[in-house]
Amino acid sequence: MKQATEQVTLLNTPLTLTALEKTLLNDYQRDLPLCASPFDEIAQQCGVSTEEVLQKLRSLQQRGLISRVGPVFAPRRAGASTLAALSVPVDELDAVAGFVNGFDEVNHNYQREHHFNLWFVVAAADQDRVDAVLDTIETMTGLPVLDLPLERAFYIDLGFPLWS
């Protein structure tokens, strides 16, 4: 395996990744070997030592480029959740976003460019709790909540190609 350091410029931020790092990021998003020494297997495929693979993965994690090596869960197989949206007056957006963030049940909260400009996911152990959170947000903000629960997921999740 080529070990030369390659400069990859992403937007204005230069990000320096070695060939091994790029391979780990791109080619190992799925099918982690379910054997006692999965990183051994990866190391053999990459032609490097197991310790080198582990050290690179730790480094990628420390640099915030990967969140983990592990499972990606399917949505809504347990508990209850919904995608919700609010149309918030622009000058109230920070305050409302902060209020919504205050719920432990809210795990994503994004501003988007649209009449409905605040989008968040509410997930809880059961539907009653999801409804209670939405009701509270509606009451406290005075804004109607758009409640868009998942009806069906279409996916073939093979990971995300970073370099083709």
Partner: protein
């Protein structure tokens, strides 16, 4: 789908990732007081039942320069939603593709997909290519780019993790 206590304990133990050591499943087994073989079998079972979609490196798209993130929403005739949902979900840069209810009159869209790219221009090009390739010109849609992430984390319920519904960003 019902989760057993064993499933829940295993999910809680691996949700933040495997320990980056030579024998990660043995390490998880030590934490749970079970055997390495049981941990591997448990993960295989979660994969088989579709609770885990994939096991591997979970990248942070934004940190890697994929900063443009668009939620594209479509008003698809009900009779075509399965066909179009399958087409879109098979597209390389579509990370999520979900059917959700319309809320008329405010919200006419019933199919949601997420497209990630290095720039808004590349996301728009990708969308145009998809529309062209699948003949989706006649289908009403809107593109909602994200401008700020106020919160981005996995869902947790006390002691046990629940698989979350990823809405805003990609995985992880």
């Amino acid at each position: 789908m019902e989760l057993s206590d064993t499933d829940r304990a295993l999910i809680a133990a691996v949700q933040d990732g495997l320990p980056l050591v030579a024998h990660p499943y043995a390490e998880v087994a030590r934490q749970l007081g079970t055997s390495e073989a049981d941990v591997m079998a448990g993960i295989a079972s979660l994969l088989e039942r579709g609770l885990i979609k994939r096991m591997g490196v979970v990248v942070r798209h934004r940190a890697l320069g994929y900063r443009a993130n668009a939620m594209v929403v479509w008003n698809v005739p009900d009779e075509n939603i399965e066909q179009i949902g399958r087409l879109l979900s098979g597209e390389t840069y579509v990370t999520l593709c979900y059917q959700r209810p319309r809320r008329l009159p405010h919200w006419p869209y019933n199919l949601f997909c997420m497209i990630h790219g290095r720039s808004r221009a590349s996301v728009r090009r990708c969308l145009e290519t998809m529309i062209e390739a699948h003949g989706l010109h006649g289908i009403e849609h809107e593109v909602l780019f994200s401008t700020r992430a106020f919160k981005q984390c996995g869902a947790r319920y006390g002691k046990f993790a629940m698989p979350q519904e990823p809405a805003g960003s990609a995985h992880g």
